[in-house]
C-alpha cells in the first residue's frame, strides 16, 4: 500500500491485495489513482494484468471492507462489484 498526501488531500494511493501461494505473494487486485484516474486492476496467477476498470476513488477503509467481503472467493468474484 502506498499513500501520498499533500496536507490532508490524497494525491496518490495504491492498495494491493496479495495472496500467498507457493511461498510467494501474488497480486490479484489493485486499486489506484495513477494519473488521477481511479481504477481497479485485476491480475492472473502469473502476475499479468487481465482487466482494468474505472471506478470512483477508494479509501483504504473501503478496500479493507471489500477484501473482507470477497475473502477466499476473490478469484471468482464479480469484478464489477469492486
Amino acid at each position: 500500500m502506498v499513500e501520498i498526501k499533500k496536507d490532508e488531500d490524497m494525491i496518490f494511493y495504491s492498495y494491493n491485495y496479495l495472496v500467498k501461494s507457493d511461498k510467494q505473494w501474488k497480486r490479484y487486485i489493485r486499486w489506484d489513482n495513477f494519473q488521477k484516474q481511479p481504477h481497479v486492476d485485476r491480475y492472473d496467477d502469473t502476475g499479468n494484468l487481465t482487466a482494468t476498470e474505472q471506478c470512483r476513488g477508494k479509501t483504504l477503509k473501503e478496500v479493507v471492507e471489500l477484501v473482507g467481503i470477497f475473502g477466499k472467493n476473490l478469484i471468482s468474484m464479480d469484478l464489477s462489484r469492486v
Binding site: 502506498v2 501520498i4 496518490f12 495504491s14 494491493n16 489493485r30 489506484d32 495513477f34 481504477h39 494484468l49
Partner: protein, 145 residues
C-alpha cells in the same frame, strides 16, 4: 489486536531510497519512460515512480507495516524487546558483537534476530563478512480492536 511497525525516514535514508529506486530501473529517466508506457502492467514500478517523485519534491516518508496476528505479539519476548532497545540505542556492527555486548549465546541472539526479521521488525546489511542488524521500525504501536 495488531502491531503496527512505523519508521520515519531521515533525509539520508530518503536520499538512499531515491537512489536505490533509480538504480534498480537503470536510471530515473528509464523509470519515467517505462512508467509512461507500462502503466498498470507493472504496479510495483508505478509505486516506485510515485514515491520517487514525491521524495524529489521533499515529501516526508513513513514506512508502516501491520502485523495482524496474535502470534506477532508472542514473538516480542522480553529478550527480543531488549535486543530491539539495544540496537536502537547503540552502534551494532555484527550479530557476534551484539551477542557479546549483551552477554548472550550467539545462537539465541541469531534466532531472535531471525524471528524479528520474519515479522518485519529487523533487516540486515552486509558489512564485509558481517551481517549488521538494522531496525526497520522506530516505533511499534499496539492497536486494539
Amino acid at each position: 489486536m495488531r502491531l503496527k511497525l512505523i519508521k520515519e525516514y531521515s533525509s539520508e535514508e530518503k536520499s538512499n531510497l531515491r537512489h536505490e529506486i533509480s538504480i534498480s530501473y537503470g536510471s530515473l529517466e528509464k523509470l519515467r519512460q517505462r512508467t509512461a508506457r507500462g502503466g498498470c502492467r507493472d504496479p510495483v514500478m508505478v509505486d516506485d515512480f510515485m514515491i520517487h517523485q514525491a521524495l524529489e519534491k521533499g515529501a516526508t516518508y513513513q514506512y508502516e507495516k501491520v502485523i495482524p496476528t496474535v502470534d506477532a505479539m508472542a514473538s516480542l519476548t522480553p529478550k527480543r524487546v531488549e535486543l530491539i532497545n539495544f540496537i536502537r540505542l547503540n552502534e551494532v556492527s555484527s550479530i557476534m558483537g551484539l551477542s557479546k555486548a549483551l552477554d548472550r549465546d550467539y545462537k539465541n541472539v541469531y534466532d531472535d534476530l531471525m524471528a524479528l526479521e520474519r515479522n518485519g521488525v529487523m533487516e540486515f546489511s552486509k558489512e564485509g563478512k558481517n551481517r549488521k542488524p538494522l531496525l526497520k521500525a522506530d516505533r511499534i504501536v499496539i492497536e486494539f480492536g
